[in-house]
Amino acid sequence: MNSLILRMVAGRVVVALVTLLIVAVVIFFATALLPGDVVQILLGQAATPAAVKGLRAAMHLDQPAALRFLLWLKDLATGDLGVSYVNNIPVADLIGSRLGNSLKLAGVTAVISVPVALTLGITAAILRGTLVDRTIAVFTIAVISVPEFMVATLSVIVFAVYLGWLPALSMTGDVTTFAGLIKAYAMPVVTLSFVISAQMIRMSRAAVIETLSAPYVEMALLKGASRRRMVLHHALPNALGPIANAVALSLSYLLGGVIIVETIFNYPGIAKLMLDAVSTRDLPLIQSCAMIFCLAYLVLITIADIVTIVSNPRLRHS
């Protein structure tokens, strides 16, 4: 670590913070400037003009949008996420338990898919051009080209309908025993793993192959090293940076996948919460959930960028 690296990392973090601010602006104005009067919707047809006026003042809706944005940003920064329009429960309470569930799902998926995907990606790079490599390539292109819900429905058809191993819905059976817990998690985790593994395999394969074209690898080849030794001892240590970058980027695909997976398996996570909020147009809840997703995404891509900076050997001795 030297000052140049620290400066670049700090610069990247500043960019992330600025981006987060712009994202907040976009999300706020996309949701807050919609047609339709929220107060009218909340109070229903029978509302008296006085009640409408009172509630509008209480919700600061009579203030200009820019001021409301600053108020909202201040509340957000102090951890006050507002109150749900639909059931008057603080948004923080609604999100609290759901967020834990989603993180559990994402964590289990990451723990399972990262080792598997990296193994497959590196194997494909070692065996480049062989039948194994081609098979893996066909699999990854197929998974990337189809929507997540197709992967999900196909795994239900295979594992639940034809093989009968797993229940089609999550969190419906008995989750008190270990076996029951595994069964409840298996289907969402398998689906999500497919989706992010495909990305990770492609990217880690590309990262290893990229380093394989470096002169020192050619030198190893000229010395008579086997392809396996070339990849594992010469290329791989130098590809660790790009691979870590690939892992962080692939994990960001979890965010999109989780929306579909939580819906189709009825998993009580934050994406399902957001989706329900969208169908009831519960704005504070939508805003908070969207901000959480964007924050998670930004954290992942910033980590990916920082890993690239830190692992760049050219910056180490300058």
Binding site: A30, V146, P147, S252, A277, A290, C294
Partner: protein, 287 residues
């Protein structure tokens, strides 16, 4: 719908004079077939789209109903043929709007440079840090999902990506001598963009348009699957999967065939672009 034809025409022109890869040719035929289906759906569909043909729902494949019946006993084949209109039509319109605006903005930013370029780039880059599905959910919650609004929403979501891609290409072309000459000659911005920059980047931009078309098809299908895209009684392929998801535990053909339709389209476009001559796809992988 006439747009769908013009989008496939350039692909055919490229093939002539280049080596024709069999995979690319097959994919091209599949895409052309779906485009024709989208145009002529009313002529080839065996049953009207909303007609309940049989009171036996989730029927399996038979000679009379080649893809079975759906949850109300409607003919799945007819619904898929009509669904092609929504999936292909909306996606094509959205990708056209997204790429035309994105590429125009990108070229303008590259040529003008300076504050305009950096402000626009920073703003649009920030937009790409919103995951596309989340942005779609927020926008749909805000403006609803009638078909025209849905098309615009999808277009807006993919403008930043298209902008970034075109800008990166245009910056390189902008540094060429002939562009400098044009500028010294006193040509106006519109002329530089249209006559000097655009011809230099049109190949990769069209390949990028194809990739973005796939993203839009996937996002549209996912939205419809979540019940936020095309609304009943109309149905695109994603909505067909959603409305028949009750038949999943029976592995009903009404769930499987719309999935196959989506996959055949998206995989074909991806493979076609992978099999385009190198000259055209130059940099299309950096998208």
């Amino acid at each position: 719908m006439s747009v769908s034809l013009s989008s496939t025409r350039p692909a055919r022109r490229w093939r002539i004079g280049y080596r024709i890869s069999p995979v690319g040719a097959i994919c091209f035929v599949v895409i052309l077939a779906w485009a024709l289906v989208a145009i002529f759906a009313p002529l080839i569909a065996p049953h009207p789209v909303g007609e309940i043909v049989d009171f036996d729902f989730f029927q399996s494949v038979s000679a009379q109903y080649p893809m079975g019946t759906d949850y109300l006993g409607r003919d799945v084949l007819s619904r898929i043929l009509f669904g092609a209109r929504y999936t292909v039509g909306i996606s094509l319109a959205a990708v056209t709007i997204a790429c035309v605006s994105g590429v125009t903005l990108g070229m303008t930013a590259a040529v003008i440079g300076g504050v305009f370029d950096s402000a626009l780039s920073r703003f649009l880059d920030a937009l790409t840090s919103i995951p596309s599905k989340i942005l779609a959910l927020v926008l749909v919650a805000a403006v609803g999902s009638s078909i025209s609004v849905l098309t615009l929403t999808l277009a807006v979501i993919y403008i930043p990506g298209s902008y970034r891609f075109a800008r990166a290409l245009a910056v390189n072309v902008n540094a060429m001598d002939y562009v400098t000459v044009a500028r010294v000659r006193g040509e106006r911005l519109g002329h530089i963009i249209r006559a000097e920059i655009l011809p230099g980047i049109v190949g990769p931009v069209l390949a990028d348009l194809g990739l973005r078309f796939v993203f839009i098809v996937l996002l549209l299908s996912s939205l419809s699957f979540l019940g936020l895209g095309v609304q009943p009684p109309n149905a695109d392929w994603g909505a067909l999967v959603k409305e028949n998801i009750g038949g999943l535990s029976l592995a009903a053909p009404a769930v499987i065939f719309p999935l196959i339709a989506i996959a055949s389209l998206t995989i074909s476009v991806n493979l076609l672009i992978d099999n385009l001559p190198q000259k055209i796809r130059d940099r299309s992988e950096d998208a």
